[in-house]
Symmetry: C2
Subunit: 694 residues, 2 copies
């Protein structure tokens, strides 16, 4: 990526003298941003534009170039890429659209280009994107207008959509947020998000990253990269459902993600998932500030009302407003006109007209190790106060910087002070104090990101050989027969209710007698996944007569529902004692690989929607956290008068399941539901199991 972002010379391909020529926009941006390298123009017809000659072909350039930026009709791109290969131009940016996002013909063009990249060992950004920007050297390759012009700073933007990226750059400029590097991924034919992310995480110029994606190349790798860095990553991935799937496919040929998995992955990776550009713009305002390491916020406010709003935001975002230290109380009481100010937190300085009180109080807060962050809501109420107010805010910014104390500022009443802070002091300012609290919470999220690495896998908790044997003996494809699914579950060390298979009514009765009444009969057949729905589960059978009758019932059900020739069998299972029901599950996500699921089980699963999940594998601490995320988990931890469930056994079951998903890639899905849980031994008992392999 270095050679892309720090190219010494650029050839812009697709330029003409026509005033509507889009590639002129690239040239215009390079000139306007003061690109420090050499610029060469290439077009079909020789000519001049921006005072630069247009060469008829890449081969005609007077010297070799580092990078070619191509904006020509899609069908012409393969030949141009081939030319780059021949001429040793190893970095290519293609901004043209008309590739895989438009279907078969475009996909074929991409295949052609891909082959050329391999042949000539080239790297390509795009197609169907807006190229890249490096503010450090004025390299600005987008063909579209950039108004207002980006400022240089420490935030880098990686966007699959050029339009979204450009729009964000404009807003960053307006909000006083400085840009370091920008890259528009487009169709990700060659360069993908993980490669660029890896580069930006190591890039000294980049302090925080915004990542807009419509699809994920390899979510697991993205997680690994994020876990290996302390830089804040804001991920904006809106393509997570049927609403967005079609438009995202036609826009950047991307597949949608599962939102619950995406959220879990972000939490595990210490990535902040934003749901809008606005959320990022708020969070980015603290990119130049030290991280917020704790919960203790002190608020200084010129407006009592804004102080109340700030306190509400603290409630929303989980900040404490600790009582002020006695020294600070004394300071405020000395300096305030008697009785006007109460030394609460938020500190309402609404009736203080001497702004040096602000700077003195803020300075004391900066020195206080018990304060994790400071929020100031400042503003002069009239012209006469302005100079004093500005002097105070300058002093506060300097003091906080020196003390390395996180500082967020919002203004009150007049917006002139917003402009002053942003434009004259280069200090991004929050429009409202609630936004400042939100940004402080984001910073705290990054400061507290989990130290656990996903791939620090603990030693397996189960006998892998036994589980492997069960799987290998299984017929390929789709769902395992119930006996085998139960055997797999047992091999993972998860106790199942005792059961026996029975081929005849008499065998069923014998099995029931040996298991002890009451029993449950279950019909098992390969195609019969939802056996409860068709009446394939008979509960609470109490005696030989009920069991033989039940067997007959299931036999006739089998004749009705199981295709002729397909095997079926009847399982006799000891009926478990009453207890709460949970589900333990696992599946494979297209982007993030294996995930493990915990939640409320039984017939209410769908209605309660009380489930949580993690990217696998997990360790026991993570499993306990997963359990505690659900309501059923809180109930199982023990409520008034009721003993807690065996959470340790539950946690181990989840860890095992997560490890098995990593160990056995052929297992697509595990669904143990219901699993009944008990305070004593056994802590849990799986009553049913669905395991899909393939």
């Amino acid at each position: 990526m270095e050679k892309f972002f720090y190219a010494h010379s650029v050839a812009v391909v697709g330029v003409s003298e026509d005033p509507d020529n889009l590639a002129q926009g690239i040239v215009n941006n390079l000139l306007e941003f003061g690109y420090q390298g050499k610029i060469f123009l290439v077009g079909r017809r020789p000519g001049t534009t921006f005072g630069l000659p247009i060469f008829a072909g890449l081969a005609d350039l007077p010297e070799p170039v580092d990078l070619a930026a191509i904006l020509t009709p899609a069908p012409s791109v393969p030949a141009l890429v081939e030319q780059c290969g021949r001429l040793g131009i190893s970095r290519v940016v293609v901004e043209s659209g008309g590739f895989s996002e438009l279907g078969e013909a475009g996909r074929a063009l991409e295949d052609k280009v891909r082959a050329l990249l391999t042949k000539y060992r080239l790297r390509l950004v795009g197609p169907n994107g807006l190229g890249l920007v490096n503010m450090e050297i004025g390299l600005a390759l987008p063909f579209s207008h950039m108004r207002p012009k980006p400022r240089r700073g420490n935030i880098s933007i990686l966007a699959q959509s050029g339009g979204v990226g450009m729009h964000l750059l404009a807003w960053m400029a307006r909000e006083g947020l400085g840009l370091n590097k920008f890259l528009s991924l487009g169709n990700k034919l060659n360069v993908g998000e993980n490669e660029v992310l890896d580069y930006l995480l190591k890039d000294p110029g980049t302090a925080a990253i915004y990542l807009y994606l419509e699809g994920m190349q390899d979510g697991r790798e993205l997680l690994r990269l994020a876990q290996g860095s302390a830089k804040p990553i804001f991920l904006h991935q809106p393509n997570v459902g049927p609403e967005t799937a079609a438009i995202a496919r036609s826009h950047t040929a991307s597949l949608s993600s599962d939102e619950t998995v995406l959220d879990a992955a972000c939490r595990q990776g210490g990535i902040l998932r934003v749901r809008s550009q606005g959320e990022f713009l708020v969070g980015a305002k603290l990119a130049a500030q030290p991280p917020v390491k704790g919960n203790r916020l002190v608020v200084l406010s010129r407006s009592g009302g804004e102080a109340v709003i700030t306190a509400y935001a603290c409630r929303q975002w989980g900040f404490e407003l600790p009582a002020l230290s006695p020294r600070l109380v004394q300071l405020i009481e000395q300096r305030a006109r008697s009785g006007v100010i109460r030394p609460t937190n938020p500190i309402d300085l609404g009736d203080i007209f001497d702004f040096s009180v602000y700077s003195e109080v803020a300075a004391a807060l900066c020195r206080d190790p018990e304060v994790d962050a400071i929020l100031i809501n400042y503003g002069p109420l009239g012209e006469s106060e302005r100079d004093g107010a500005r002097e105070a805010i300058r002093a506060i910014i300097a003091t906080a910087k020196e003390a390395e104390k996180p500082l967020a500022i919002s203004v009150v009443c007049t917006l002139d002070e917003e402009d002053y802070l942003r434009e004259s002091l280069n200090f991004p300012v929050f429009h409202f104090p609630g936004e400042a609290v939100r940004a402080l919470a984001y910073s705290r999220f990054f400061a507290r990101r989990p130290s656990l690495r996903l791939f620090d896998t603990p030693a397996p908790l189960f006998q892998a050989k036994e589980a492997a044997a069960v799987l290998s003996a299984a017929p390929g494809g789709d769902f395992l027969p119930l006996p085998r699914a139960l055997a797999f579950t047992a091999a993972l060390g998860i106790t199942t209710a005792p059961w026996q298979a029975a081929a005849t009514p008499a065998a069923a009765a014998a099995a029931a007698a040996s298991l002890g009444y009451p029993v449950v009969l279950k019909l098992s057949a390969p195609g019969l996944v939802h056996k409860t729905e068709v009446g394939g589960v008979l509960l609470n059978l109490k005696g030989t007569k009920a069991v033989t009758a039940g067997f007959a019932e299931l036999s006739s059900l089998a004749r009705e529902h199981v295709p002729p020739g397909e095997p079926w069998e009847v399982l006799v299972m000891a009926q478990a004692a009453a207890g709460r029901e949970i589900l333990l599950g696992a599946r494979r996500d297209q982007a993030f690989g294996p995930v493990v699921v915990f939640g409320a089980g039984g017939v209410e699963t769908e209605v309660l929607e009380d489930v949580a999940l993690r990217i696998a594998p997990i360790n026991e601490a993570e499993a306990r956290a997963l359990i505690a995320e659900t309501k059923i988990g809180l109930v199982l931890a023990g409520v008034r008068g009721l003993p807690p469930a065996d959470l340790k056994a539950l946690g181990r079951a989840l860890v095992t399941l997560s490890q098995a998903m990593v160990q056995f890639p052929q297992v697509q899905e595990v669904d143990l539901n219901p699993v009944r849980v008990f305070p004593g031994s056994p802590g849990l008992l799986a009553l049913d199991a669905r395991v899909r392999v393939g």
Copy 2:
């Protein structure tokens, strides 16, 4: 209020020649806003400022005035108010602070002023506020700077905090949102929010209202006013918890609200509760648009990425993106370069460079009755496109207005177009499409506000006489003894499990025999509210021996926990069949009066937090909606294989409870928990009851 907002002349009291004089700010604003009435200045020392003479007293003014705006130290205010009374100045605005928000001395000053208001029949806005503004006549009484200056429009602002109000006015101006009237309530000594709200709801100049409150005078009345009007009300009330309580008390002497009650009240009143100023600014951008009556949104986007983001927002906010009509598909296919555009919704026009396609498609959408709202994401990619793009957007705005179709616009890439729309077309523009979708959802909320009036009370469902008798016979104060609480419950028509009181072990055994085993024994004593915690409930007693032993156990418990001399008794209750447990409750909210609560019951109540509530009274439809808001309600409606509970009986119980709370103001709290529910008859059985009167 009319006389406040349309005063023909104003005396500004507290003016001096001193450049730091705050009251000069009022004069400055009146002049700057072009006040159409007469301005008189009053101060302790005669002089001149802004070319106007300063009179030494209100009595010295050359003619009577409609309104006095006072900004002098608090102790001087009562004498000034008295002067107003004597001079017949019936409208007074006090901007000075130093009253009840600062404690006892200030409260005494307010009492003095209050007496004068009664004596002279004056009306007063404030104190401790920023007065009021009426853009229609240039009446601008705040003493603080207003930068940028408000524009005239159709939104009115009613704010308890002057600072919050001023800050919002500045942002409205920056966002292109026009102000009609503003009033800062301050301490609400005389004029409160309901009176002003009532006025603004009837005010022809006001189309939408933002209401910032830190405490509520009379929430029930506010609800009644809101339900009687079709105007959108955005309520910002952040003082809802311990975090905000202290600062709000010292700021405007306000008491905090219960957040769950506030949320329920807003839903019932069709009031949109906003949690930040930003949410209001987003919603207000559609104040000049027709209401969004349905769910069907069509999105036209210049950027594919912004289209994906828009579709995600539709997922968040519950909008459908219906398929385009065949006519529209045909139109797009004809006009688009072949193959470049797929006629999906969102429509990605990213590669259309002819902006007349936008206006044609938008015009077709405006004519389509199947489209409830249109969202356009527009923007030229370069200078050459600008004129065409602007022409198109002007045409679209005009067409939508004519067709009365709600239209939201966001821009892409360059922010110049935001400025153009806002400044040249006076059309508020959304910064990001997600904000536009949010605003459309707000508009839909208002369009769908419930037609039910809270006070359209249905006929009582219970025998009021019987319930009244139970209550009247009860000793005053605190919790009713359990037998009486159960009798009250039964009088409301809510079946309780059969029970008998027993004074001796033998009587208990006899009661148990007559009720049928198993039984439950409960210890009842006035001070013993949480009897389960101390072991005062014995479950599942199966026989005489167990009952007599249980009686002995509860007797010794009573000796331990019940103070000597206080009565206690033992209740024998038939043990109910197993079933799901719910809670039915009611209490009185300080702002909104009686509320009724439904939720998951039993020992898990606190952990599950699965409750919902309504302001009482409610009818059966509302009760069913209340039940359906909880998870337990969904479970009771019937899940896979299980029969539904008797929701009709549940609904009736809630209606009854809500009616009883209205009928019997002495009932402070009712807590029926657990109530066991069954599919058959009786649909529900209250097993315990706590009723607090006072």
